[in-house]
């Protein structure tokens, strides 16, 4: 068996690096951009997973970072949303410079823990802070793509309305799907007619877990470390069992 021989010579099978060409980009906020890539050989992914992105300069120096996938699963294509990190190595290029037709390398999909598939029929609670809503958006998009009937409650926490990604899409999904509820919560300043005063996420912002026939709510929390720790504590305080809460955190080392 030639394939086996090859595998033995190369050692354990690793996730291969693939070439990805930027098809289009669009700004989500003043400092965040969604990038759609054409990736020959990409077989699709589970919502919530991420990719490692590698850029190599002409002198051979390469920088590598991981970014959550924002899109629903598709073969040959994926979308990332990248927030600029000051003095970051990759994000300023991805957000401000990279043009359609430019290429980079990526590998994935990575991560089997923080993921959602249509096989999960329980209600879903998504709690995202800042750019932490990216993998949660993938879950929402996958839920809609697959026609799953799992109820989704998506809580997006941002500094101000200007900091929310996917504004139009979230609004239209919220309006057109009876079993999808989208809450936008602001920590610094909100809209004039908001019933909720701007401020940090608190216990009253979060629903209790569902129970009974639908199964226990699956909660996914993603954001900066401090946000994730406090949101996870609040969910526990709200009665969500620890085993039903999955978290993903990122720190200022991103970029």
């Amino acid at each position: 068996m030639k394939a086996t021989d090859d595998a033995q010579h190369r050692g354990p099978a690793t996730i291969p690096w693939l070439r990805a060409e930027l098809l289009e980009g669009r700004m989500e906020t003043r400092t965040a951009r969604s990038l759609v890539f054409d990736v020959p050989g990409w077989a699709g992914h589970h919502a919530g997973q991420h990719v490692d992105v590698k850029l190599t300069s002409e002198d051979g120096y390469s920088a590598q970072r991981s970014y959550s996938i924002a899109s629903a699963s598709a073969s040959g294509q994926l979308e990332l949303t990248v927030q600029v990190v000051s003095h970051g190595e990759l994000s300023p290029y991805l957000v401000e410079v990279m043009s359609p037709g430019d290429e980079l390398e990526l590998r994935g999909p990575i991560g089997g823990w923080f993921r959602w598939t249509e096989e999960f029929t329980e209600p879903v609670l998504l709690v995202g802070g800042g750019s932490g809503i990216v993998p949660l958006m993938a879950i929402l998009r996958e839920r809609i793509r697959t026609g799953s009937t799992a109820p989704v409650h998506f809580i997006c926490v941002a500094r101000t309305p200007d900091h929310v990604f996917y504004t139009n899409e979230l609004h239209s999904v919220d309006q057109s799907h009876a079993d999808v509820l989208v809450d936008r919560l602001y920590t610094r300043s909100g809209l004039a007619d908001d019933a909720r005063a701007a401020g940090r996420l608190n216990l009253h912002d979060l629903p209790p877990p569902s129970s009974g026939d639908t199964g226990i709510t699956r909660a996914y929390v993603c954001g900066p470390t401090g946000f994730v720790e406090s949101a996870a504590d609040l969910l526990l305080g709200r009665g969500h069992p620890p085993t039903a809460i999955r978290t993903e955190r990122f720190g200022p080392t991103g970029g």
């Binding site: 690793t14 996730i15 991981s66 991560g111 089997g112 923080f114 999955r246 978290t247 993903e248 720190g251």
Partner: protein, 91 residues
């Protein structure tokens, strides 16, 4: 014990590099801390990635449960802080 994890990420962020070493997805591994006995998914342990290698700390007590360092010709794994890794085989 509460520590500041302001500069930390989590195990999700190191799964890509570790996929070069392990044939399974590390994020779903249940890591048992040798210091406090807590068991947490690898994905939710605390990861420090800024140094020459990666340090993984227990999400409960912050003890080091794993160290991973890549040199030009080798990869070093120090798992002495883990009592066990439970690797699921069902998926």
């Amino acid at each position: 014990m509460e520590q500041s994890h302001e500069f930390a990420v989590d195990g999700n962020a190191v799964a890509g590099p570790l996929s070069e070493i392990f044939a399974f997805d590390v994020t779903s591994v249940q890591v048992n801390c040798n210091h406090c006995g807590a068991t947490n998914p690898f994905a939710e342990e605390i990861a420090y990635v800024g140094g020459p290698g990666t340090v993984l700390r227990c999400a409960d007590c912050a003890s080091v449960v794993g160290r991973f360092v890549k040199t030009p010709d080798s990869v070093w794994l120090d798992l002495s802080g883990s009592a066990s890794w439970r690797i699921g085989t069902s998926q």
